[in-house]
């Protein structure tokens, strides 16, 4: 977006806010909606609804929280249309609590918190950081990881979950997770 002397338009303001909060919204939607392609659609639709309702946004409140509120309603609506159950509203509220703790209300703050995640990954014992890299970075299927590590798929699942639990503990200690 080019900076000029003119007053910023609603479109300019929306673009700035959208870019600042897109990462956090996407994380929230990924936590709520498990289906990858659905996450993309819900993200797009959430942003479109936010644009149409921008006049309703209360500037004294967090734009990120407002966006996530729209996102959770859009996700429920999508799931209803596809006759899918994603998560119940209580679960969404709890995910939102973690989002609020993670929320710096600014893109820079989000990046800082992601750096905390990097730090926590670095501190994981080797077995756990290895499996995190295989699942999330390399996107290897479970059976391939199991075969590479000479473990059962069940053991790999447990190791992945344990790795996430250790990361959650670490993030909690560093004050970026509820």
């Amino acid at each position: 977006m080019k900076l000029t002397n003119r007053e910023p338009s609603a479109h300019d303001v929306f673009e700035l806010l959208a870019r600042d909060h897109a990462d956090h919204l996407l994380v929230f939607l990924r936590a709520v909606v498990r289906d990858r392609s659905m996450v993309d659609d819900v993200f797009q639709e959430t942003m479109m609804v936010a644009w149409r309702r921008l006049a309703d946004f209360d500037r004294t409140r967090s734009f990120g929280a407002w966006l996530r509120g729209i996102g959770s309603r859009v996700a429920m609506d999508f799931a209803g249309r596809k006759r899918m159950v994603i998560v119940d509203p209580t679960m969404i509220q709890e995910i939102e609590q973690h989002s609020v703790a993670f929320d710096g209300d600014h893109a820079h703050a989000f990046q800082t918190r992601m750096a905390t995640l990097d730090d926590c990954i670095e501190r994981l014992p080797n077995d756990y950081s290895q499996v995190i890299q295989m699942v999330y970075r390399a996107d290897l299927p479970l059976r391939k990881i199991a075969s590479n590590l000479a473990l059962t798929e069940e053991a790999v699942k447990k190791r992945i979950q344990r790795a996430r639990a250790l990361l959650a503990q670490c993030l909690h200690r560093k004050g970026v997770l509820a």
Binding site: E15, R19, R123, M134, A138, D139, R164, L171
Partner: protein, 353 residues
Amino acid sequence: MTNIDPNLSRPESNDPNGLPQDRFVDALLAHKFSETRESMDARIDRVLRSIHAKPSRAHSIRSWHWWAIPLAALIAISILFMPTSSSASAVVQSAARVARKSVDRQYQVILIPKGRRVSDQPPPIFATLDVRDSQHMRIEIHFQGGRTEIHGRDGDTSWQQRPDGSAIISDRNIPWPRWVETPDGSLLVDSMAEMLKDLDDSYDIAKVDDAQACGRSGLLQIRASRQEIESVVASQSDEKLHRNPAERIEMCIDPATNEVIRLEMFFPVQSGPGPSDQHGPPPPPMGERGSPPPMGERGSRPPMGERGSPRGGGPHGPLGPPQSISFERTETTSFPSDWFKAPAHAVEADPTQ
């Protein structure tokens, strides 16, 4: 990390469907490893384009012509009756032709090392391979602990930048070492065209139907299995086998472009020195070669391009080839013109050392 809560060692659920906290951490990880600044900008750009766009649903429905349905049915029938085994080699040949074109391509490379002992599985090694053609390549290898080593080839010049930042230009008489040695096994570094050239008649090539293997729909999955594994492993002098001892190569090819989107090589456990001869400490990390391992214990390990080692194209490291190496195409634009050149501070390797 210390102070681990012992209660967390029990399985709570297999998938992050239970705890909101677990789902949130899962989402953070997925975001961290799958999104880039560019991909996020692209998402926002899509939103902004949609804001300005007029509804196009009616237009898209009208654009389906009456003949589209029978045509789609015809294509579906053609695909169903396509001979799978006979055309697999043709697909690979087409992919090789496409790969020979001089185009900037980037691959994410993952090396899964062999375990030195049953209980000791080293972590995977990640690398980014940039290729223009078989004469212009650059690989950035990321080791645990943030160490990075870069190897490059710019025509006749091969160079290496070590983790400490120092860089050397290899002796021009030594050919590009197809296999780069890492502490956890040798890593094949070559253009996709050269790798596909390895798939000669010593491999059985067939189409396979494994929806999960390619990670996305619409790709052709091809499997190349080396014939008579036992005799091949026994004949280590075989030059072809020496160039690439992979016993199985899995490929995912885009049928629209014939581009190889993913290629993964699996090596036999027997190839190269295995866990049985591993005594003593693991080898030093690359770039920390101050004290070489004693001869006879792990064998000598001349650094790449620094000595006149017989690097005809096979894996020379003490561990031999790894368990597997995968190459996955990533989206990339053209590399800068000097991308493959040796760093300005690189010095000529001293052949006397």
